[in-house]
């Protein structure tokens, strides 16, 4: 055989090419679920985490007495039923499941619940969520399966806050492991469906199934790999090439197209805790005039923006309530929704009719979604009614710093909180809160209505108060509400039982494979 040098080189090149260009892109092994998230976690510790994508992971490790369903409504979790609430709404009694164990094998009991809450509430432990649970006066263990929370005043929202801002960990675990352990390698310290395995910073997080999980048959996956893919287009490509089976936050412009792609399913859900609004300063001109504020409110065509800019991935609302909620006040919405004639009339009545202009701070980098195009559309809509809006791009931390110091005139802000209906209203429109200076607004009638709402958990008594709160706010129009964020996900059709979650985080505990 005449093996010449060129023949050998050709053969070598062909075999190298065959290895290199193997068209089979490796999928995970069987029962490995791979998801792609846009943001890097900074910690998995439930008492200090503030990143929604991190919560998708930490919520698999840590659980709480209650959880929220895909609609954002609280449902029992480590408590086997919803709590019994005293008539004065000051005592919450939880009966706990007795078939739960931590991932380290220790049996879960009421002592662990008390330890976890006491730890989080202790100022020395620097939980950034302590303020949200401040009304808790005392946690009392009545038996291994019964724990009682005594409150300083009625405070309904904490039932939802616990699902996002808190987790239960074993008694003594903080002293034994240290806070860094909870932040970086929380192995064995939760009761959840997934056991932490590995975190490659900026790259991926790996978890494995908790074989002793108390919900039998869950999860269906043996291994979960969460890849961090910040670039929108790359995340979509991961889905198309089967490198990921579920992705979060596909870009709105691709969302409709993804729905028609074979083998891909896409869905969305309004995040009732994700408000997008113009945070305007009522202490500074021109927003110290209610007529000017209403002129701006009536000058913005929210539905057009939701459709044309966000391709339907925005729930347009002129009140601080999503239109999909039972407490949405349509009459209040109508009072300040898009109406150019009304906008011009309010402007004519305002003190700033001669020089109707203001500066709007807009986030230069996307947070939750990219609002820059929407800002330009709003600018043109306001120009059509005679109002000049100057756009200044600024990074989110700087915008927040301005807003919290009350030094901004207006900023376009998406804020994401728990699905409780009063969380964002409280922090923005009542005195002594972190965003109080940003708006510079207060109204005793509003404070009273919020406090009254804290007494109730049932929609029958709660909804009328929440509608009244919207009426009060719309009447004063301290801010211009634009809409609510929509959670969007896309996933491969072999993934079953996955639903987008109103809490914005990705819930993959119950996912099965087709």
């Amino acid at each position: 055989m005449d093996l010449r040098r060129r023949t050998l080189l050709g053969a070598a090149a062909a075999s190298a090419g065959a290895g290199l260009l193997d068209p089979r892109i490796a999928l995970g092994a069987d029962k490995t679920l791979t998801i792609a998230l846009p943001n890097n976690p900074t910690t998995f510790d439930p008492i200090v985490t503030s990143n929604h994508d991190a919560m998708a992971i930490s919520n698999l490790i840590f659980e709480n007495l209650l959880d929220v369903d895909v609609n954002g409504d609280p449902v029992p979790s480590l408590a086997y039923k919803m709590p019994t609430i005293s008539d004065d709404a000051l005592t919450f009694t939880f009966d706990l499941r007795d078939d739960v164990a931590f991932q380290n094998g220790a049996k879960f009991s009421a002592e662990d619940v008390k330890y976890s809450y006491d730890y989080m509430l202790n100022p020395a432990n620097k939980s950034i969520r302590r303020a949200q649970f401040a009304p808790i006066e005392e946690v009392v263990v009545e038996s291994p399966t019964r724990v009682v929370f005594k409150m300083r005043q009625p405070f309904r929202p904490w039932l939802v806050y616990m699902t996002k801002f808190m987790g239960v960990f074993p008694k003594g675990s903080r002293e034994a492991e240290g806070n860094a352990y909870f932040a970086n390698t929380p192995i064995g310290v939760g009761t959840g469906a997934g056991i932490f395995v590995d975190w490659q910073k900026d790259s991926q997080i790996t978890m494995k199934k908790n074989p002793n999980y108390w919900r039998k048959g869950v999860p269906a996956w043996d291994r979960l790999v969460a890849k961090i893919v910040p670039e929108d287009a790359t995340r979509v490509a991961y889905l198309m090439t089967k490198q990921a089976q579920i992705i979060s936050a596909p870009p709105p412009r691709d969302f409709q197209r993804l729905k028609t792609e074979p083998g891909i399913v896409a869905g969305s859900k309004v995040a009732v805790g994700g408000m997008w609004f113009m945070q305007i300063n009522n202490k500074r001109p021109p927003f110290d005039d209610v007529n000017f504020r209403k002129a701006v409110a009536c000058g913005v065509d929210r539905k057009k923006i939701a459709q044309d800019v966000f391709y339907g991935l925005m729930d347009a609302s002129a009140t601080p309530a999503a239109t999909v909620t039972s407490y949405y006040n349509a009459d209040a919405d109508a009072a300040v929704s898009y109406n150019p004639e009304k906008a011009r009339a309010y402007l004519a009545k305002s003190r700033y009719a001669a020089k109707p202009e203001f500066e709007m701070l807009v986030l230069s980098l996307p947070y939750l979604f990219d609002q820059r195009d929407a800002a330009v559309v709003i600018q043109s809509q306001l120009a059509a009614v005679g109002i000049t809006m100057k756009i200044t791009l600024m990074e989110q931390p700087q915008v927040l710093a301005h807003a919290m110091a009350g030094t901004q005139v207006a900023s376009m802000m998406p804020l994401m909180g728990p699905s409780d209906p009063t969380f964002l209203i409280k922090i923005n429109y009542t005195p002594g809160q972190i965003m109080s200076k940003a708006t510079g607004y207060s109204n005793p009638a509003l404070d009273a209505a919020i406090t009254e709402s804290y007494k109730y958990t049932d929609s029958k008594r709660l909804d009328p108060i929440l509608k009244q709160i919207q009426s009060i706010l719309v009447e004063d129009s301290p801010n211009v509400w634009l809409g609510f964020v929509v959670t969007a996900n896309a996933w491969r059709s072999e993934v079953k039982d996955f639903k987008p979650n109103a809490g914005l985080t990705m819930e993959v505990r119950d996912v099965t494979f087709g």
């Binding site: 260009l21 892109i25 503030s50 990143n51 620097k126 932040a183 931390p397």
Partner: protein
């Protein structure tokens, strides 16, 4: 030898100046990293407490002295955002970026130098026009867009390559190389254009020189002439190539982002987004050191290629 020593001292001085400017710029950012860590609803007192705990409220000179003192001993400090040991992070991400840059560099040299030589030998021929057209395209196409197009073509369309991510060599040579091909092309194509034009110009100049005409007249073969031509023509190409190698670390920032490669450029971008002061300072300082090292290597190579400089 003295010249090299001089350059080395000069490089260290540049590195020190960069460290001062870098530190000043990073600390001129008006917002504390606490805002990123603690979230939108953290209070002013939470922010103050965070700054105190992490030494961010100390005088700037003290913070600089502590940082540069640590770096000079190989201790890059700990991230204020997640408490990660930064030297370990650099140790994990630098090899990834280095491999990507070296691959892109080899690709750039491997395509650009032959293309430049052929263009010079066939000046104004069709191959020269084609190379010129490719060069214009190469410098005009943004690597961000090119990266996305390569993903659409090679990953989504043909399925030959992954859409992103870095497979370590422990996962096998095939997957490892597959994960680097598209990013290396996206990173290297701009420099193919730059280096090929420089090679063409330099080779063309030498081809027109008297000694080459004499060599031809004496009947020397094309191969022998090519060797002589390259020895004379490669000096400016080496300089451009060394500069390109340094610049590639900067462009890798975009390529690593598009292809989701967890290299050091990707880490730098994340550090910027998260206001991770120390990580930003450390990574940029390492990149500066690499850039200076590439230039120093070019200086040495320059002297090897042109002994007159050594004299």
């Amino acid at each position: 030898m003295w010249a090299i020593a001089n350059r080395l001292v000069g490089s260290l001085a540049v590195l020190w100046i960069v460290s001062v400017v870098l530190f000043a710029l990073v600390h001129a950012i008006p917002v504390s990293p606490a805002r990123v860590v603690l979230g939108a609803d953290a209070s002013d007192s939470d922010i103050t407490e965070f700054d105190h705990d992490h030494g961010l409220d100390r005088p700037l000179i003290e913070q600089y002295a502590r940082w540069i003192g640590g770096v000079s001993h190989g201790d890059f400090g700990v991230s204020v955002i997640d408490g990660a040991v930064i030297s370990r992070e650099i140790g994990q991400t630098l090899p990834v970026t280095l491999e990507l840059v070296v691959l892109a560099f080899i690709l750039a040299l491997g395509l650009a130098i032959p293309l430049g030589i052929v263009s010079a030998f066939y000046e104004d021929g069709w191959i020269d026009h084609l190379a010129r057209g490719l060069a214009v395209l190469g410098v005009s196409i943004p690597s961000f867009w090119l990266g996305l197009m390569l993903i659409a073509w090679g990953a989504v369309g043909l399925g030959w390559f992954p859409a992103g991510g870095y497979e370590p060599i422990s996962e096998g040579l095939g997957p490892h190389l597959r994960s680097l091909v598209l990013p290396a092309v996206a990173l290297g194509i701009y420099y193919v254009a730059i280096i090929s034009r420089m090679t063409r110009s330099s080779v063309g100049e030498v081809l027109a020189a008297d000694h080459v005409r004499v060599s031809r007249a004496m009947g020397l073969g094309r191969r022998r002439i090519l060797v002589y031509v390259l020895k004379c023509a490669l000096s400016p190409v080496v300089t451009v190539a060394a500069m390109s190698f340094g610049y590639m670390f900067g462009w890798a920032l975009i390529v690593e982002q598009v292809f989701n490669i967890a290299g050091m450029s990707h880490a730098l971008l994340n550090a910027v987004m998260r206001r991770d002061y120390l990580a930003i300072e450390d990574v940029v300082l390492v990149f500066t050191a690499l850039f200076l090292a590439a230039n120093l290597a070019a200086d040495i190579l320059y002297r090897v290629l042109d002994p007159r400089l050594a004299e």
